[in-house]
Amino acid sequence: MIWESLWLTLKLALITTLLLFVIGTPLAYWLSATKSKSKPVWETLVSMPLILPPTVLGFYLLIAFGQSSFIGKFLDDFFGLQLVFSFSGLVLASVIYSLPFMVHPIQSGFSSLPIHLKEAAYSLGKSKTTTFFKIMLPNIKPALLTGIVLSFAHTIGEFGVVLMIGGNLPGETRVASIAIYDEVEALNYSNANTLSFILFVLSFAILLSVYLINNKSLNRIVK
């Protein structure tokens, strides 16, 4: 049971991070470049999960995608997709919940690049797409890595939002953080301890690797 919940946690974190990378990178680029007046509103929405209690987010998702809601019924009728008390629901909630952890570092990475870099590429006849993939992305690698690792780590640490929308179904929505809570409730302290220790070591290793890699790339630029 321990391994099942750990595997579920890793699977959730991997899928969430992958989706967030695909969604978050263009969003971060747009936020860093836009002159739109609506920018503060979008930035606020992206940052909301940072301060909003996870239970609030979970509650609204539960309401929005439950069987009694229009969206929930529509998704179930036409796509057979149930977002409440299911793994796909966890993925959706995690993507929203970890969005700022992917977008913020990448956005500041893009903003720190001199504007002339982009303009020089355009003046050499390169399209916006080529410039984005050949010039912008390769020059913010440390920021991309930070975004990926923080989103991954943050998804592993989720509890409230997962509990609200996913519940506690073994093999489907019972991720490690919830399993620990469950084991403690059942007074199985040794199982809770094993899981907690693994999560502790995992989180430490992930964050340490970010700092090591970023310090190294910093040194390379200074040299």
Binding site: P114, A120, S123, L124, G125, S127
Partner: protein, 291 residues
Amino acid sequence: MIECKLKKELSAAEGKMILNVDFRLNEGDFIVLYGNSGAGKTSILRMLSGLLSPEDGYINQDSNVWFNAEKKIDLPIQKREIGLVFQNYALFPNMNIEENIYFSLPQKKDKKTAEELIELMELGNLRKQKIQQLSGGQQQRVALARALARKPKLLLLDEPLSALDHGMRTRLQEYILKLHKTYNLTTILVSHDPAEIIKMADKVMVLENGKITKTGPPISIFSENKLSGKFQFTGEVLAKIDEEVISILHILIGNNVIKSVSAKDEIAHIQKGDKVLVASKAFNPIVTKIE
């Protein structure tokens, strides 16, 4: 040939300003835009390159229309075939020298011009180096080579040398002139340095508050026609030594330091570090061949 008429409201440090200019460049011209910061020099370059859209006017390059407000034509920068060089080099940090230069080639095949430029800019030994390891002068040589590798007709240089020290600047000026002549470019340089301008430009356009107030050969612009010298040079005052009634100026002209004696009050306004014009009209210079 490039003909343009540009109009745009710009927000400068002292509030709003209308940029309104009208000029024509012939093929092979070396033009310098001169003026105070905020006069609109960089904005003109950005409009020519397509990074900034004028509100009104047109830009025609030979028979191509780059911009026309009436016909709503605004060719994107990618299609204007210009070379653009910035003060801060703007090299791509994720590529080495060679990759930076090759990056500008349309297809991978035609490396001839790129190789020629690497040769001309004397970058052959450095080609695999990371750009972080280069000096400012070397970086700007790479930027010049990169800007010209896809053979643009118009080269736009936005204060490319102002971050470099004096010696490096002189050498880079030579490189730029060499490129200008080799590829028969039309070049526009933004510069603040009269010595540099006199050395390089065919024609100077003086910009004040968004308008071109003077146009002409650099010597006549900077000497303001007060002298009709038989020979004249520009230099920089290295030192001014005051004696009883006279002052001795030590002036750097090219690589030579000359001393000049003047009455004290005549040159009271000249200080160390000033750019000066040195001319003689009373004497016939003696010219002998150096062995």
